[in-house]
């Protein structure tokens, strides 16, 4: 089938997945705990206060109606256009604030962190994976493979804290938290990504400051993630390097570096791309811990703070956002894959 048909089919398939997602979150967050409002107050409030809150949040309506309201809130395009974010209800803690708004102001920070982390992870992973595959079964190969395994076993926040210690406290090279030093004003928000925005603004100083703040958290995440890519690249390269077109290329006298990169890696890379998409899911989970460690004002830290406040509507909204984002990313990855490899579209 053509690319267009594939895209349309794929998008249509996303709808039941999304519905499932929303339902699951609803079940977990609204049905499972019984009464979110009671949990919120931890039984320390009067019934009148609880009832009042319930009414504001619409939690006194019958369950099925709550469900419909909730689903409608997410897909309500009118609301989305008007406010710039979907209707995810109001915060339990500050009932005048929209959860959607809070989430969308926190989101770009996580996005920026995630993007840089994945780039670092892929670069480290692929380079090490290629090096490892070229020296099959040698000492460097084993070391690199061990590295891949060990990075996975290290808790993210532990690594983060250590790096903070070394670079932030002892060496004082890099800041240990916040997106940008408190003395510097953040750039005008166009994309929400400080690095890009400061470049758009033409302000080199702000750019450098935001990069400095990004370095530690994205490296922490990146190193932990790279393990998967090391292994994937290595396995795929080992397979590809023994294919005949690689030997044929050597037989034509092409340089070894050309053979490794333009012939072997380029063909082995496609699975890495898919894995990048899959890893995004892991990344969001990891971002929670990294953001908490580095006081990074993103969605992850938002969830954690909301948990401390027992703000269940906010937590629910954030989980939905995570889910939406993951679904979107996997959709994009699938389409990208089909675009790059025409054989898939069949």
């Amino acid at each position: 089938m053509g690319l267009r048909t594939y895209i349309i089919t794929r998008i249509i398939l996303t709808i039941p997945t999304l519905l499932l997602l929303l339902t699951a979150v609803f079940l977990i967050m609204r049905v499972l705990p019984g009464d979110p409002v009671a949990l919120h107050f931890e039984k320390k409030a009067t019934p009148e206060t609880m009832e009042a809150l319930r009414h504001i949040l619409g939690l006194d309506k019958p369950l099925w109606q709550q469900y419909l309201d909730y689903v409608w809130g997410v897909i309500d395009i009118g609301y989305l256009i008007q406010h710039g974010y979907p209707n995810l209800g109001k915060s339990m803690q500050v009932t005048t604030e929209d959860v959607g708004g809070q989430i969308f102001s926190a989101f770009p920070a996580t996005l920026e962190l995630a993007i840089y982390a994945i780039i670092i992870a892929v670069v480290i992973g692929v380079l090490l994976g290629v090096a490892s595959s070229k020296k099959y079964n040698s000492v460097p190969d084993h070391i690199i493979r061990e590295f891949g395994i060990i990075t996975y076993a290290v808790p993210i926040f532990f690594l983060g804290i250590i790096l903070q210690l070394i670079f932030g406290v002892y060496l004082r090279w890099l800041p240990t938290g916040l997106r940008i030093a408190p003395t510097v004003e953040p750039p005008v928000s166009i994309t929400g990504l400080y690095t890009i925005d400061s470049l758009i603004e033409g302000n080199l100083y702000k750019f450098i400051e935001s990069v400095k703040a990004l370095l530690l958290p994205s490296f922490t995440l990146g190193i932990i993630l790279s393990g998967v890519f090391v292994r994937l690249t290595r396995t795929n390269m080992l397979e590809t390097l023994r294919l005949e077109f690689v030997t044929a290329a050597r037989a034509r006298g092409l340089k070894e570096s050309t053979v490794t990169y333009r012939y072997a890696l380029r063909n082995a890379f496609l699975p890495v791309l898919t894995m990048m998409g899959l890893q995004f899911a892991l990344l969001l989970g990891g971002a929670v811990l990294t953001e908490t460690t580095f006081s990074w004002p993103g969605l992850g830290r938002y969830i954690v703070t909301r948990i401390n406040f027992r703000d269940y509507t906010a937590i629910q909204g954030a989980v939905v956002m995570f889910g939406l984002f993951v679904t979107l990313v996997s959709l994009v990855v699938d389409i990208l894959y089909a675009y790059l490899d025409p054989r898939i579209r069949l």
Partner: protein
């Protein structure tokens, strides 16, 4: 008494050749052995802690507050004056419990689900797969956080939230294995002699699926340890009265600015070791069971 000793001996007699044969399988075999050794040591350490630990891990002020490692307190003391060594000895128990329970839950739910879904096939299989895939794509920690936030702290709740994240992995792997085995001739042969579906499932298909289950289980264990630590870090872990590596890791942060490295380092290293131990077992096993490319 004599009979008991004899049984114990014969089990050992059977196990030891098994272990020895592992070493013959090259580096992968060694990986399994090292991993097993680490895990066993930690389990034993946790088990004998009540008898071996020099102090009560929860009791505060057994020593000077926040003092570095010394002869009296080899791993130093916490900000409340608790002995770190004792806390380390006891601290693994929560993690071990959480991982073990979560693996158990996954096993009890995920394995039969995968087996049946793949065996029955058809629309049932498609429906299950769709649901499971939706869960699978979700970032594990976020789900765990959501559930833990709702259910509250506690070993079982943590285990439950981790289990929910992992069931899809078991389901998928078992399902794909069963699907490939289902078509093999000897299963057809069994059907043709009128074997009942449950005996086919359990006698023919299940034994072949076991290797993959073991691999997933070990990864599950490792991940459970790390997720438990993560949950504790966020504040969704167990209560204060139980010594826990994750808890100390979190609390140890506060001492860092004054140069207090010991409260955070020892638990951190222990967590890494435990996770590594399980990972080694899993890596080694998967390499043994699915031999990689050979020159």
């Amino acid at each position: 008494m004599k009979e008991e000793n004899e049984t114990r001996q014969s089990i050992l007699a059977r196990l030891i050749p098994g272990f020895v044969s592992l070493t013959k399988h090259g580096p992968s075999g060694w990986m399994v052995i090292i991993g097993l050794a680490i895990v066993v040591v930690i389990v034993v350490m946790t088990a004998i802690a009540p008898w071996v630990a020099p102090h009560d891990p929860i009791k505060s002020n057994v020593g000077p507050l926040a003092s570095p490692p010394s002869w009296q307190f080899p791993m130093g003391t916490t900000a409340l004056g608790q002995d770190m060594l004792s806390r380390i000895l006891f601290g693994g128990s929560t993690m071990l419990q959480v991982s073990a329970i979560s693996v158990l839950i996954c096993f009890v739910i995920g394995v039969p689900l995968g087996l049946f879904s793949a065996y029955v096939g058809g629309n049932l299989d498609k429906t299950f797969s769709l649901i499971i895939d939706a869960v699978y794509a979700f970032p594990g920690l976020v789900i765990a956080i959501a559930i833990a936030a709702v259910l509250g702290p506690g070993v079982v709740n943590m285990a439950l939230s981790i289990a929910v994240v992992y069931i899809p992995s078991y389901f998928r792997i078992i399902r794909s294995q069963v699907l490939s085995i289902k078509e093999l001739t000897y299963v057809e042969a069994a059907k043709s002699i009128g074997a009942k579906w449950h005996s086919i499932l359990f006698k023919y298909i299940f034994p072949n699926v076991v290797p993959s289950i073991v691999t997933v289980a070990t990864v599950n264990f490792a991940d459970a340890v790390l997720t438990a630590a993560g949950l504790t870090f966020i504040g969704l872990g167990v209560s204060v009265s139980i010594p826990d590596w994750g808890y100390d890791l979190t609390k140890g942060r506060e001492l860092l600015s004054n140069g207090g490295w010991w409260v955070i380092t020892f638990p951190g290293v222990m967590i890494i070791l435990l996770a590594l131990g399980f990972t080694f077992i899993g890596e080694g096993l998967s390499e043994l069971l699915n031999p990689k490319l050979q020159r």
